[in-house]
Symmetry: C2
Subunit: 662 residues, 2 copies
């Protein structure tokens, strides 16, 4: 049938080659080619397997399956994939593995998600030699399936007060793992419920009645023979959630479960046979587990948003609705109008205002991904996942009613990305860690000490008045002016929060009580610090891009900066740094940016090069033949297996009785 002609036209209107941008995003044309080869192989493989009835493909859209059936489907594919994985990808290449997982399992979660994401890396990073020798070979080849069980029903963020205990029994040279209360049950770990037969369990180490804080222990949960829970182990699925139905997040109760002393992960902290405790050199080394999730997460955020803007932008080029000039016309005069096609919704300014900043943001997140990762590992854990999640919702709503259907492929990514606001620790708490770092840096700056890279601006003075709009026609100077103004805001908010905190301390509050009285201001400062960092990194990356892609990326950067300034207008105006006129100027420029991006919009999202399988969206598929596909998708609904639902019998009888009464 060919592609939807509106999409083809949109692609022809671009003034850059999306292939060049894709290569820049992924690193090189070769990497992109390899990526596509994997897509092709996976889909070819899939076709062969359909014939053999043991395919990697989804027999019906995953969205239609109950959780039980969904997990069955993922198990089936997982066992098959393990056998064939070497034909498809280089298993030592993380990016290739990640892509394959997405192509095969979509967004639903799969049986080895935590095994490879947490269990294996923690085992590699924290197990002492003896333990590693015993378990790593089996873990690496999937002879066992493991997970990482840290959070409890009653404790997520405050790890130091986890309730699960690991009490050392000197005589037996064993640890006794125990859940003393209901709220001590491990709760939430992925793949814990039904898939894993081993887990690394975080528990309070107790020796001779003394507590030494949380440490990690390798605990066997289920028999290797029949997968039944072992004595003392209560394990199961925690039930349905907002998203990730295919993931068996689980609970785990431990009733005085004994494990050998050597099953503690003792690369860093150690317990000798006689109970002598040797602390780790760095106290943080023992909690390291979540870092892997965080690294993974920043990619999830960026990819989720890229996926959502791809769907919404393509569909907005296809979807036609209303007429800009028809407001005053009515029937039957409207008949003449109706011979012309309606307006592509992408031509409405409000739609552009909704979507294009999200495209810019998706690019920014993709570009700064690696730098943010670095920052994570340093100090800053407060990156606002909420931004990406809100962006996805904007994209979903921009698709009108159909965005609400799971056929759009948009509700699930939202549910996954928004989980990032809690699953690696309460977002507010993360922000406060960033704020603490900021406060330390403010004090260092005040003392004239050396500042690390991300907070250099705290040591600068900067101009009291913004020069935005004063360098008409000199784009690079304008960007620098906006970045300087964002720095001005970030600096002022950090300093003011510090002053407020100090005032409370001087008034006699303890440091910590005083902190609780200013946390809203602290979070605000931390959030803007994060946003400034992203803006700076995006700018660096774009201005150093190859000439073939630079112009279109600069348009995105321009939109990004203007949008950030509008969003922070209250802070820019607050101390007279900007005037109302300057804000008006920025808004005007922003509207011009929207118009500039319009012809490039579809190609900009094409350049993310997300395969239709990864996209998993009827509305967003590359060929744009949406409406027929939507109907075919809906027909697969479990409710459509029969014309009349068996369950309807209840109501059929009721109606008959009611009619008889009239």
């Amino acid at each position: 049938a060919g592609d939807n002609p509106d999409l083809t036209k949109a692609r022809q209107s671009a003034n850059f080659h999306p292939e060049d941008v894709t290569a820049f995003l992924f690193g090189s044309k070769e990497i992109v080619e390899r990526k596509r080869e994997i897509s092709r192989k996976a889909s070819k493989f899939q076709l062969i397997q359909i014939a053999a009835d043991t395919d990697l493909a989804n027999s019906v859209p995953l969205e239609f399956l109950s959780r039980e059936k969904l997990i069955e489907e993922q198990c089936r594919k997982a066992s098959l994939m393990v056998k064939k994985v070497h034909e498809l990808v280089d298993v030592s290449n993380q990016a290739e593995m990640k892509q394959l997982n997405e192509e095969v399992f979509c967004i639903e979660g799969f049986p080895f998600f935590l095994h490879f994401g947490m269990f294996l890396p923690v085992l590699q990073g924290q197990a002492h030699e003896e333990l590693a020798a015993e378990f790593l070979p089996r873990a690496m080849t999937l002879g066992i399936i493991g997970t990482y069980a840290q959070t409890e029903m009653g404790h997520g963020t405050n790890l130091r007060e986890l309730e699960t205990t690991a009490t050392y029994d000197k005589r037996a040279e064993e640890f006794v793992l125990h859940s003393p209360t209901r709220s001590a049950m491990k709760w939430w770990p992925g793949n814990l419920g039904k898939m894993s037969n081993y887990a690394i369990v975080t528990a309070q180490l107790i020796i001779d009645g003394k507590r030494y804080g949380p440490h990690n222990f390798l605990v066997q949960l289920r028999s290797e023979k029949d997968h039944r829970p072992l004595p003392g182990i209560t394990v199961g699925d925690i039930g349905p959630k907002f998203g990730a139905g295919g993931l068996d997040n689980g609970f785990l109760g431990l009733d005085r479960v004994r494990i050998p002393r050597t099953r503690m992960l003792m690369k860093h902290a150690k317990v000798a046979r006689d109970g002598t405790y040797t602390p780790p050199i760095h106290s943080k080394l023992n909690y390291g587990g979540m870092v892997y999730v965080r690294a993974h997460m920043s990619h999830t955020q960026a990819n989720g948003l890229a996926l959502a803007v791809t769907v919404a932008t393509r569909y907005s080029a296809i979807r036609r609705q209303g007429r800009i000039a028809a407001e005053q016309v009515s029937y039957p005069e409207l008949n003449a109008y109706c011979s012309q096609p309606e307006v592509q919704v992408l031509d409405y300014q409000t739609q552009q205002y909704r979507l294009f900043p999200q495209i810019a943001r998706a690019y920014a997140y993709r570009f700064v991904g690696d730098e943010v990762l670095e920052l994570y590992q340093q100090t800053m854990k407060g990156i606002d996942n909420g931004e990406a999640a809100l962006g996805i919702e904007q994209c979903r709503m921009a698709c009108g009613g159909h965005g609400y259907s799971l056929a759009s492929g948009l509700p699930k990514p939202y549910a996954i990305v928004i989980a990032g606001c809690t699953y690696e620790g309460e977002n507010m708490v993360m922000l406060q860690q960033a704020a603490r770092y900021l406060m330390k840096s403010v004090k260092r700056a005040a003392r004239g000490e050396k500042l690390s890279y991300s907070v250099q601006y705290l040591g600068k003075t900067g101009a009291a008045r913004s020069s935005i709009g004063r360098c008409e026609g000199q784009r690079e100077k304008e960007y620098e002016a906006m970045l300087s103004s964002l720095e001005h805001v970030a600096r002022r908010l950090a300093q003011e929060a510090c002053v407020l905190w100090n005032k409370r301390i001087e008034a006699g509050e303890t440091k910590e009580r005083a902190w609780n009285g200013v946390t809203v201001e602290m979070n605000r400062a931390a959030r803007i610090y994060t946003r400034l960092f992203i803006a700076r990194a995006f700018h660096r990356r774009v201005t150093s891009a190859p000439a073939s892609v630079r112009p279109v990326l600069i348009d995105l950067l321009s939109l990004y900066l203007h949008y950030e300034c509008v969003d922070m207008a209250s802070h820019l105006l607050h101390d007279g740094h900007c005037t109302g006129e300057q804000i008006k100027h920025i808004k005007q420029k922003l509207y011009e940016d929207l118009a500039k991006i319009r012809p490039n919009a579809v190609s900009l999202v094409d350049a993310f090069d997300i395969s239709d399988r990864q996209l998993n969206s009827v509305l967003g598929k590359r060929d744009g033949n949406v409406y027929e596909a939507l109907y075919q998708w809906a027909k697969a609904s479990e409710l459509n297996y029969t014309d009349v639902l068996p369950a309807f019998g209840h109501l059929q009888q009721m109606m008959e009785e009611n009619r008889a009464k009239i």
Copy 2:
């Protein structure tokens, strides 16, 4: 076991009687008493029925059911409810019926949702006498089940260009209903897929080749005898969605389906036997259907938010996490600390900042509900559902990880409320209708003409400088100052948007093109107009409240106004109306409001008087015994029917093979 002691303590700390507030919210103590009686009856009824195994209660939590099972469960309960409804409520009382529906069906949707919500009211409002006589008796007694089929796969907001046609065949005196294209299929109507045997179908009326725009027709979809689709009718479920899994949103294709002329709803527009068309007196009368949904919706928004803050506030009083003063302490010194309970998360300022404004908002929405309804029917359709939905998400995230579980009862209300942004028409389009009204009013004001109630402020001049913070100690004057400042902003934005629009027209653009170039500014103006309206109405309502409840409501009002001013700070600062110092002052007052509300928070949400059945939340239940209940809930997961999932066989074999290789 008694209530959770933290909750009991929180309730004792309140300085008002929640019963008084509840009576004020619902109208009188008698209404509240009746409401509770229905709750009691419903639950008693339920117990009797459990014994008889035909209960109204849910056999397992609805969250665990597949869509098919869920709909079966709702059908079962629905047929039973119809028989017993007179024992439980006064069926002529809408509020009682609504409550009963919530107690019985929770938030999942039910088989008569559209029948009573749309089909019946449209039939009553638009059918001519003859048609009403034939169908109303059966419709009112559920001898038939109907729905309202308006939106199509390709058209939602632009109703005038719906593709379904109703062509009059003069000779046969019949209309021929037809879907000429794939995108013409009716798509989305609730209960259309499997439940309804009749529908009011909106279609383009065509007589003698001339189009007369959309009109409504009563079409039989399924046999009354066996519920099978009639010839020419293609009908089914559109598949899973973000929320409302229990509702069979459907599709409908019509293949030259013939209906008698008299099945057109002809109370307003008419087609005579000979094909003579008589238009309705008011052209809008024919599209009236959606108005009913809108009326219903404003309640959904308010209730959804009230529900979410109830859950989050109660759980935040129960949940203890971290220690304000423990940051610097580490093991083993921390042991001493651990004998004291951790901090209730409701004591963290960030948590208060997240939740309390949502409590204030929930009250505001509840209070202004009726006024907004009035406004809807007048002119303004742009109420921002997004605000309520975002509020619900804030509440969900404030519950930490457990907020993500369906056990919290929070993901589903979000999915339902956010649907309001699209299901009654694209939110942006609604805002633009409000903006058009605003622009008309700006022009009227400029000509010195009389302005209607909601836009009076456009005719005022107002002070150039805000007096916020200048009336220390005089609370009422402060509120008036804030309201005046919000008016100042609303007026300025409306006027500026008007100027921008005119400039483009003067520069030669058509009125409509010019409009599309300023829609972002128009929407902004419309949104603030809406918010001002709510703030004014909330203020009116609170200041006229009885003395017993006024003080605590005034605290909420104060928080609400301060929060709105902070949120609109950029607009307040823009033209120097407020100074940075004034904004600081407002923030300071806002933090003081949070502290004031803290002891009343739990009682304020208790006063919404939402029954545990309506709440349907493990985290938010009234007695606060959360953790045990969470475990009991999770055990019901479909994945826990067996210790080892049958599906795991795939992986069991895989692991064995892999281990054998080592």
